[in-house]
C-alpha cells in the first residue's frame, strides 16, 4: 500500500516535470535549430546591417518563425536587437496603432472597414499613428494541417464538402459512406468522430473556417471567424487540440503544421477537385502564389484562393503580415526595421523556416514584398 501510494506520488511528480519540460521546450526548441543552421547562413550578411533596438508585437502564429529570423539577424548584425512579443494579432494591431511598437504582427491585414463598435478603420488609425500610410507586408506562410487519429487508418483524403460536414457534425462516424466514397481501398472503422477546435480565438480558426466557407459553401453554412462556429469540443491553443487528437481515437482537428509534425499526427490529404494533395512546403507555396493582391501599391493584402483546383496546390493556409509605417518617424529605427525585414524575406531565411513548420513565400509574392521593403523609409 505504501509503495503503491509512493509510486502514485512519483507519477504525479513525473507528469508535473514533463509538463514543465514541455513548456520549457517550446522556448528552447528554436534556439537549437538556429544555432545548428545559423552559422551556415550567409544570405543575411548581404543585407546592410543596422544598429539599435526594435520592438514588435502581435500574432502568435508567426512567433516561432520570427524568433528564428531574429536569432539569425542578430547573429549577422551583432549591433542590433529585435524583440517580438507574441500576444495575439488584435493586441499587435492595437499596440502598433498606439505607437508602442515599431511593427505589428497580424494574421489579417489592417481592415479598411470599421470593426463593430469602432468609428475609425484600423487602416485609418494606423495611418494616423504613422503620419504616413501603414503597409501590410506578408512575411510568414503558415500551413494548416487537418490531423486525425483513427486506428488502422494511415492515409485519408478529404474534400472540402466532406471536411465541412465532419466539422459541423453532419457526418458522425468514420465509416460514413461519404468518407468511404472518396477513400477507396481504405478500411474505415465505425468509430465515432470527435471534433476538436480551438477554444481561444485564433487566426488558425479564422483561416480554416474561411477555407470551409469558400470551398464548401453549401455544406459549411456557419460563419467564419476567429471563434469556432462548428461542432465539437474546444481545447486551448494548438498544443491543446493536437494533444486531444493524439489522446482520442476517432479525433480530428485543424492545427498548425509544426504541431502536426512534432506530435507525429496523421495529416489528411486535401482534394479540392484537382486530385489529393499532401501537405508539403512546395504545395503550400504554390497555393499562395495564386493569391490575388487586394491592396494598393506596396500595401500588400493577399486574397487567398481557397477554392483552387490547381493540381499540387495545398489550399489551407494562413499568411501573417508585418505591419509597418511606410515612413518611419524615427529614421534610425526605420532603417533597422527595413534591414531586419529584408533579411526576414530573403530566400535563405524563408527556406530555413520550412524546418520549423512554415512554408517559404513563393517567388512572385517575395518579389512584391522585397519591393515594398525597399520602399520603406
Amino acid at each position: 500500500m505504501k509503495i503503491q501510494s509512493r509510486r502514485r506520488i512519483a507519477n504525479v511528480t513525473g507528469v508535473a516535470l514533463v509538463g514543465t519540460l514541455a513548456l520549457a521546450g517550446c522556448g528552447s526548441n528554436n534556439n537549437t535549430t538556429a544555432t545548428s543552421s545559423g552559422s551556415s547562413s550567409t544570405s543575411a550578411s548581404s543585407t546592410g546591417c543596422a544598429t539599435g533596438t526594435l520592438s514588435g508585437e502581435g500574432s502568435t502564429a508567426q512567433k516561432n518563425a520570427i524568433d528564428q529570423a531574429i536569432t539569425d539577424y542578430q547573429t549577422t548584425c551583432p549591433g542590433a536587437t529585435v524583440n517580438y512579443n507574441g500576444t495575439g494579432s488584435g493586441a499587435g494591431v492595437k499596440q502598433f496603432t498606439a505607437g508602442q511598437v515599431a511593427f505589428g504582427g497580424s494574421d489579417s491585414a489592417l481592415k479598411s472597414v470599421p470593426v463593430a463598435g469602432a468609428t475609425v478603420t484600423e487602416q485609418a488609425a494606423a495611418d494616423k499613428a504613422c503620419g504616413s500610410p501603414a503597409w501590410d507586408i506578408p512575411m510568414v506562410t503558415g500551413p494548416i494541417a487537418v490531423v486525425y487519429n483513427v486506428k488502422g487508418v494511415s492515409k485519408l483524403i478529404l474534400t472540402p464538402a466532406v471536411s465541412a460536414k465532419i466539422f459541423n457534425g453532419v457526418i458522425t462516424t468514420w465509416n460514413d459512406p461519404a468518407i468511404a466514397a472518396i477513400n477507396p481501398g481504405v478500411t474505415l472503422p465505425a468509430t465515432a468522430i470527435k471534433v476538436f477546435f480551438r477554444s481561444d480565438s485564433s487566426g488558425t480558426t479564422e483561416n480554416f473556417t474561411k477555407y470551409l466557407a469558400a470551398a464548401a459553401p453549401t455544406a459549411w453554412t456557419a460563419a467564419s471567424g476567429k471563434t469556432w462556429t462548428g461542432k465539437g469540443e474546444g481545447k486551448q491553443a494548438s498544443s491543446g487540440v493536437s494533444n486531444a487528437v493524439k489522446a482520442t481515437d476517432g479525433g480530428i482537428t485543424y492545427t498548425e503544421w509544426s504541431y502536426a509534425k512534432d506530435d507525429q499526427l496523421a495529416m489528411a490529404q486535401i482534394d479540392n477537385g484537382g486530385g489529393p494533395v499532401e501537405l508539403t512546403a512546395p504545395a503550400v507555396s504554390q497555393a499562395l502564389s495564386l493569391a490575388k493582391q487586394a491592396g494598393t501599391g506596396n500595401n500588400i493584402i493577399l486574397k487567398l484562393d481557397y477554392t483552387t483546383k490547381a493540381p499540387g496546390a495545398y489550399p489551407i493556409l494562413l499568411v501573417t503580415y508585418e505591419i509597418a509605417c511606410s515612413k518611419g518617424k524615427d529614421a534610425a529605427k526605420a532603417k533597422l526595421l527595413q534591414s531586419f525585414l529584408k533579411s526576414f524575406a530573403s530566400s535563405g531565411e524563408q527556406a530555413k523556416l520550412v524546418t520549423i513548420g512554415y512554408a517559404p513565400l513563393p517567388a512572385n509574392i517575395q518579389g512584391q514584398v522585397n519591393t515594398a521593403i525597399a520602399a520603406l523609409s
Binding site: V15, T87, G88, G90, A91, A116, S199, K231, E233
Partner: protein
C-alpha cells in the same frame, strides 16, 4: 476583594494617574508613533476600498457601452456573438458553468477540509500535527497551470470510470446526463481539481479556529461523559462554525475566479451546442472565457462584452461574500 465584585483596579488609584482603560479614538495619546500608525492603518483601509471601487468602476465603464448595444437579454441569453453587428451576447452558459463547477468543488472540499482540520487539531498525535499542516499548506503553493496539466493528463484518465458509474445510476436526472464530452474535460473533473486547489484555504483557516476552542468547553463536554466525537460535535464544531464558513467563502472566491486550470482542463463548446444542465458537459467559466479571448480584443465593443462578463463575476463574488458575512454575524451571538 473589589476585583471580584467587578470593580477594576483603576478605581483604587487616586490622583492624576486615575483614568479608565483607554477606549476607542481616545486611545490615541497624540504621540508621533501613534499618529503615524493610525494614519498608515487608515490609509491601508482606504486604499483597499479604493482599489475595489476602481476595479468596479473600470469594469462598469468598459461594459456599459457594449451592454447598451446588446440586442439580447444579457442575463438569460446563451448566445455569444461579439464579432458582428448586431451585438448579441448573454452569460447564461458562463454563469451556470461557473456556479456549477465551484459549487461541486465546495461540496467536495468543505467536508474534506473540515475533516483534515479536525484530524490535525483533535486526533493526530502531537508530532504529526506540524508536518501534516505544512503539507496541506503546500498544496496552495502549486501553480495553477500544474493543477491544470495534472487534471487533464493524470486525473482525467481516471475519471472515465467514475463518470460512467454516475451516469449509469443517475443518468435520468438532467444534472447527470451524458453530454458526450471526454471524461477528462468535463465540469466534474474541473470541480475535483478546484476542490484540491481550495482545500488548503479551507483547511488552514478551519484548523486555526478549531485550535482556539476553549479548553474549558472541551473538558466540560468530556467530563459529562461525551465521547471524542460527541465532544467535537458539541464543543469544537459550534465554536468553529463562523470560521469554517468564512474559510469556505474565501475558497469559493478562489474557485469562482480560477482561470488557468479551468482553461486547460475544460472543453469549450461551440456556440451552437444545445443547453445542458449536466455536470458531464464542457463549457466555459467567466474567467476562462475572458482568458481564451483576451488576445484578440480588437474593438472596444468586443472588449466591453467580455468586461461585462467580468463584471458579473465581480458581482457574484461580492454577493457570495456578503451572504457569508451575514451568516457569520448571525452566528456570532451564539459563540460569545
Amino acid at each position: 476583594m473589589p476585583n471580584i465584585t467587578g470593580v477594576s483596579a483603576v478605581d483604587e488609584l487616586s490622583g492624576p494617574e486615575r483614568h479608565g482603560p483607554p477606549q476607542g479614538n481616545r486611545a490615541s495619546t497624540g504621540r508621533l508613533g501613534d499618529r503615524i500608525f493610525s494614519g498608515t492603518a487608515r490609509g491601508a483601509g482606504i486604499l483597499v476600498i479604493a482599489i475595489v471601487t476602481l476595479v468596479g468602476v473600470f469594469l462598469l465603464s468598459q461594459a456599459i457601452p457594449a451592454l447598451a448595444k446588446d440586442k439580447v437579454n444579457f442575463l438569460t441569453s446563451t448566445q455569444w456573438n461579439v464579432d458582428a453587428t448586431p451585438l448579441q451576447f448573454g452569460i447564461a452558459n458562463l454563469l451556470w458553468v461557473t456556479v456549477l463547477s465551484s459549487a461541486l468543488a465546495m461540496v467536495v472540499a468543505v467536508p474534506l477540509g473540515i475533516g483534515v482540520a479536525l484530524f490535525i487539531t483533535q486526533y493526530a498525535p502531537r508530532w504529526l500535527r506540524g508536518p501534516a499542516a505544512s503539507l496541506v499548506d503546500l498544496l496552495a503553493a502549486v501553480p495553477s497551470i500544474v493543477y491544470g496539466l495534472w487534471g487533464l493528463q493524470v486525473l482525467g484518465t481516471h475519471m472515465d470510470g467514475i463518470q460512467g458509474f454516475l451516469i449509469k445510476i443517475f443518468g435520468r436526472l438532467p444534472l447527470f446526463q451524458d453530454a458526450g464530452v471526454a471524461a477528462a474535460s468535463t465540469i466534474l473533473t474541473v470541480a475535483v481539481v478546484l476542490a484540491i486547489m481550495v482545500l488548503p484555504i479551507v483547511t488552514a483557516l478551519s484548523r486555526e479556529v478549531f485550535a482556539q476552542t476553549p479548553t474549558t468547553n472541551m473538558e466540560a463536554a468530556l467530563a459529562l461523559g461525551a465521547t471524542r466525537w460527541e465532544m467535537i460535535r458539541t464543543a469544537v464544531l459550534p465554536f468553529g462554525k463562523p470560521g469554517v464558513i468564512s474559510a469556505s467563502m474565501l475558497g469559493l472566491g478562489r474557485a469562482l475566479g480560477e482561470t488557468v486550470a479551468v482553461t486547460v482542463i475544460l472543453s469549450a463548446l461551440a456556440g451552437s451546442a444545445p443547453w445542458s444542465w449536466s455536470m458531464f458537459n464542457g463549457g466555459e467559466t467567466f474567467a476562462s472565457k475572458i482568458a481564451n479571448n483576451a488576445a484578440e480584443f480588437d474593438s472596444p465593443q468586443k472588449a466591453g462584452a467580455f468586461m461585462a462578463a467580468g463584471l458579473v463575476l465581480f458581482g457574484l463574488t461580492f454577493i457570495v461574500n456578503a451572504v457569508a458575512r451575514a451568516v457569520i454575524n448571525r452566528r456570532k451571538a451564539f459563540v460569545e
